[in-house]
């Protein structure tokens, strides 16, 4: 990551560019091309104004990132049936309107009180790229910023994000496109995610997250682990075993429970065999 000018100044310029892109939105890999200044007709149903459903200091993320002031923006471009925050993540109109100035003040207060990072997440923050960049512009250049993403962003979004966030905390949810389509109604998932992860590793610090899902150890986790071992050796990986059968998970028989002890052991063994750099 090369920072030629103050991050906040660059972010301010890019936020203007991103706002202009709302006329034909290509922030994510769905490439809807809808005019979000006139309607909210894309797959994420987001209009031009970002909303948020949670903003607080949390300690549940990776140990090297916490405490973090986590700002959760409403709406998402995926439709994961097992989403733990489905009601707010699937609804871009949930929560309250985001006043960037006020949120930046809260974030700075959190940093002054001991938070180590500011994390922008969702839903999916990529669909609110213009607002996220405004937020970056309003935060101190010294703040350690985390971009918590599903990694389904577009190349256009990547270009605007370059150098803006210190850490990309990116999900690699599904190991194949069949599971991605069935569980999250998403196409071309694996190719898009892999491309974005490689880019993120080259342009920032990268932590890859995988949430173990019951019945998906071999089809999803094993494939993810093997790809990471081969293509991003040494990358930090957080393997999360606390699957929670939330939201519409019951639509899928295998997702009606939690991950079994046996599956968890199997998953850790796969990580060991792949020599993954697991972090807590």
């Amino acid at each position: 990551m090369v920072r030629m000018e103050a991050r906040s100044l660059v972010a301010r310029e890019r936020a203007i560019i991103a706002k202009g892109m709302l006329v034909s939105c290509h922030f994510c890999a769905h490439h809807c091309g809808v005019n979000r200044l006139k309607a909210s007709g894309g797959l994420c149903h987001a209009g031009a104004a970002a909303r948020f459903f949670s903003a607080q200091i949390e300690v549940s993320d990776e140990l090297e990132l916490i405490p973090t002031f986590a700002i959760a923006l409403s709406g998402c471009d995926l439709r994961c049936d097992f989403c733990i925050t489905g009601a707010d993540s699937w609804n871009a109109r949930a929560g309250a309107g985001l006043n960037v100035t006020e949120m930046a003040v809260r974030a700075k207060q959190a940093l002054n009180r001991g938070a180590r990072t500011v994390m922008v997440l969702g839903g999916e923050p990529t669909i609110h790229l213009h607002t996220a960049l405004e937020l970056v512009a309003a935060l101190p250049d010294s703040a350690r910023l985390v971009w918590k993403t599903n990694a389904y962003g577009s190349a256009e979004a990547r270009e605007l994000l370059d150098g803006m966030f210190d850490v990309w905390l990116a999900d690699f949810k599904f190991g194949n496109d069949v599971c991605a389509r069935r569980l999250a109604k998403i196409s071309d998932y694996v190719r898009v995610i892999q491309k974005n992860l490689v880019w993120a590793d080259e342009h920032s610090e990268l932590i890859v997250r995988h949430l173990l899902m019951p019945g998906h150890i071999v089809c999803c986790w094993k494939r993810v682990a093997e790809w990471l071992a081969e293509n991003l050796p040494g990358v930090k990986v957080n393997l999360r075993s606390g699957f929670w059968p939330a939201w519409h998970a019951a639509r899928h028989s295998e997702l009606r429970g939690t991950v079994s002890t046996g599956e968890t052991k199997q998953a850790w063994e796969i990580a060991r065999i792949c020599s993954l750099n697991l972090i807590p």
């Binding site: 948020f52 459903f53 949670s54 903003a55 607080q56 200091i57 949390e58 300690v59 549940s60 140990l63 916490i66 405490p67 986590a70 959760a72 409403s74 733990i84 925050t85 009601a87 707010d88 609804n91 949930a94 929560g95 309250a96 207060q109 959190a110 009180r113 001991g114 938070a115 606390g242 929670w244 059968p245 939330a246 939201w247 519409h248 998970a249 019951a250 939690t258 807590p280």
Partner: protein, 72 residues
């Protein structure tokens, strides 16, 4: 502190968690085998859970920060 339990599959519009410094939200799922799954863990809840099981290695490292905001 507000505990909010997921309704598993019922579609409902939760009260969004628009928090100020005094209002923190954590969600817990307590399993029959005694495991507790947590979403949006805050410092006070980490302290509470660690108090229930001080030997738990996943929660204990998350109790050590005590930011001023979290202590409010």
């Amino acid at each position: 502190m507000q505990l909010e339990f997921d309704s598993m599959k019922k579609i409902r519009q939760r009260k969004s968690q628009i928090n100020d410094a005094e209002s923190l939200n954590t969600e817990l799922l307590i399993l029959p085998d005694g495991r507790i799954l947590v979403q949006n863990l805050t410092q006070p809840m980490a302290d509470l859970l660690s108090g229930l099981n001080p030997k738990d290695d996943t929660v204990r490292p998350r109790t050590e920060f005590h930011t001023q905001a979290a202590l409010k």
